[in-house]
Amino acid sequence: MCMKKTVSDFLLVENKQLNKDNFQLLLRSTHPFSDIFPGQFINVEIKEAKDIFLRRPFSILDVDYGLQTISLLVKILGRGSKKLTEAITGQTINAIFPLGKSFTLPDKSNRILLIGGGSGVAPMLFLAKRCGLDPSNVNVLIGARSALDHIDVTEYLDFGKYYFTTEDGTLGEKGYVTNHPIFSNQLSQFDKIYCCGPDLMMKVIGRKAIEMDIFCEVSLENMMACGFGVCLCCVEETKSGHKCVCTDGPVFNVKDLKW
């Protein structure tokens, strides 16, 4: 199941601006690859950028083994992500992949709720597509600041039912994902909750899941230097001590965290 980690060159075949801060990058590998699972990430070199020394980790949004492509959702958060969104089609991009542990795939009979906030939507869409469940059992709740910050999920609509929230009420329910009725009133119908987004959002969701005794996995994004477990910088304090987000995670069961 585990594909060997490699340092690889990719060709940037598409760089599409989705909205103000979000870009979708399509990278084509020179070598075939397989077995990449939702929740895993890729550590991308940011070339010819002043003051940027380390790679930048991104969740994988989608893969196509036939075309040998990997899609990334890149949200501008700082200098590194900004520079990457300025990359030009045809450029070579070096990356280390696949990294980290994936989400635990649901059982066939499960009803699941996927919650994505901000750029955390990427692994949720990948999971919706690859979880292998009947779409009627896959519920995807996505939150953003406003309608303009939401990315277009049209391509993914066949894989589940979608719910949206915005802080300004311009799309879906007004408020945070945790204010949406599917979270605040209907949580008990789900066997598994998967979540990726800001820490605060994941903490609220995680605590609620623990309280209601629902399986819940979250994907963390602590700052890291290497991405493959040698620098020990990205540690999260868990019930069994410091764990590396890059290799023990990024996906953790909330029960193992000190939330």
Partner: protein, 303 residues
């Protein structure tokens, strides 16, 4: 065919390229990326007598041409190393060197005694230069008296190759190097990280949980190079050069300045295949310059 073999004390290395402690785990973590047996040596993660959880997150800050870390020697202790890790890595065809840390001289001695028993560990690197621990670590490495005391105590119980890793956070690194040479160290490796700091201007808070941390990467290379050259001229024991080495040219510069071997550290975070690229690069440099043995490069600086 060029000859890449070098010697540190009685130990022959197939080439002068090692991976630095704390940047390659126990080797297994980077096994996917390269054949570890091609390395001259592998210096495994800093080990202590008892397990250590290390410092709180955040432990890292990116800086111009480098990074700060404040890991604080997180490791599962020597028992775990001997029982679980050593059996898995002992048959690698490279020299496995354990980086030894302690809060007290007794810690260093007790840990060294445990490692002496391990047949496939031909050398230890005594770390008296970790800037990220509250007790011990760098405190031992910044005064001649304490550096001498710890090296003397460890030398008494360790008969194999004893390398001492030096701190650059001193007024005159040659004084420390001479002091530990006098106590029987077989080699010195330098430099460990430079004490640094990062501040978030928006929040007015330090970036690292420990406020200060160790600076590494190409940002420190000129300082490391200068210190290697100074120490090379001050002691007779072989010097292992460390500090911001990113490619073969960097490695060769360190060897010209006096390093018998080099360690690649932070560069591994960017590209874990760099050590092999460096070995190949040294090889082609030697072919290009018609150098038969890599030893001809060591200390060949022409002033």
């Amino acid at each position: 065919m060029v000859n890449l073999e070098i010697k540190i004390h009685e130990l022959t290395f197939k080439n002068p390229v090692m991976t630095a402690s704390g940047t390659c785990g126990f080797g297994e973590e980077i096994n996917d990326f390269m054949n570890l047996s091609l390395l001259g040596g592998l210096v495994v993660k800093g080990t202590t007598l008892k397990p250590r959880e290390g410092n709180a997150y955040p432990r890292m800050a990116e800086t111009p041409s480098g990074m700060l870390n404040a890991v604080g020697l997180q490791n599962k202790g020597v028992d775990n190393f001997i029982t679980n890790i050593y059996p898995r890595i002992k048959d690698l065809n490279t020299h496995i060197i354990v980086n030894v840390n302690g809060s007290t001289i007794n810690d260093y001695v007790a840990l060294t005694e445990r490692l002496e028993e391990l047949e496939k560990i031909p050398a230890i690197e005594l770390n008296i230069s970790c800037p990220n621990v509250k007790e011990g670590g760098m405190a031992f490495g910044i005064s001649c008296t304490s550096a001498e005391a710890v090296v003397k105590a460890v030398r008494r119980v360790y008969s194999k190759t004893l390398i001492v890793k030096l701190s650059p956070n001193v007024t005159d690194i040659t004084e420390i190097a001479k002091a530990i040479e006098g106590q029987g160290a077989d080699s010195v490796s330098l430099i460990n990280t430079l004490l640094g700091m990062a501040v978030n201007a928006e929040t007015r808070k330090p970036v690292l949980s420990t406020i200060t941390g160790g600076l590494s990467g190409p940002a420190i290379k000129p300082i490391a190079l200068r210190m290697v050259w100074q120490v090379f001229n001050a002691v007779k024991i072989p010097v292992i050069g460390i500090g911001g080495i990113m490619n073969a040219t960097d490695a060769i510069e360190f060897m010209i300045a006096g390093a018998s071997a080099i360690q690649v550290g932070t560069a591994l975070f960017i590209d874990p295949t760099i050590p092999l690229q460096i070995i190949d690069g040294i090889d082609s440099y030697m072919v290009r310059h018609k150098i038969q043995s890599v030893n001809e490069i060591i200390g060949s600086l022409q002033c």
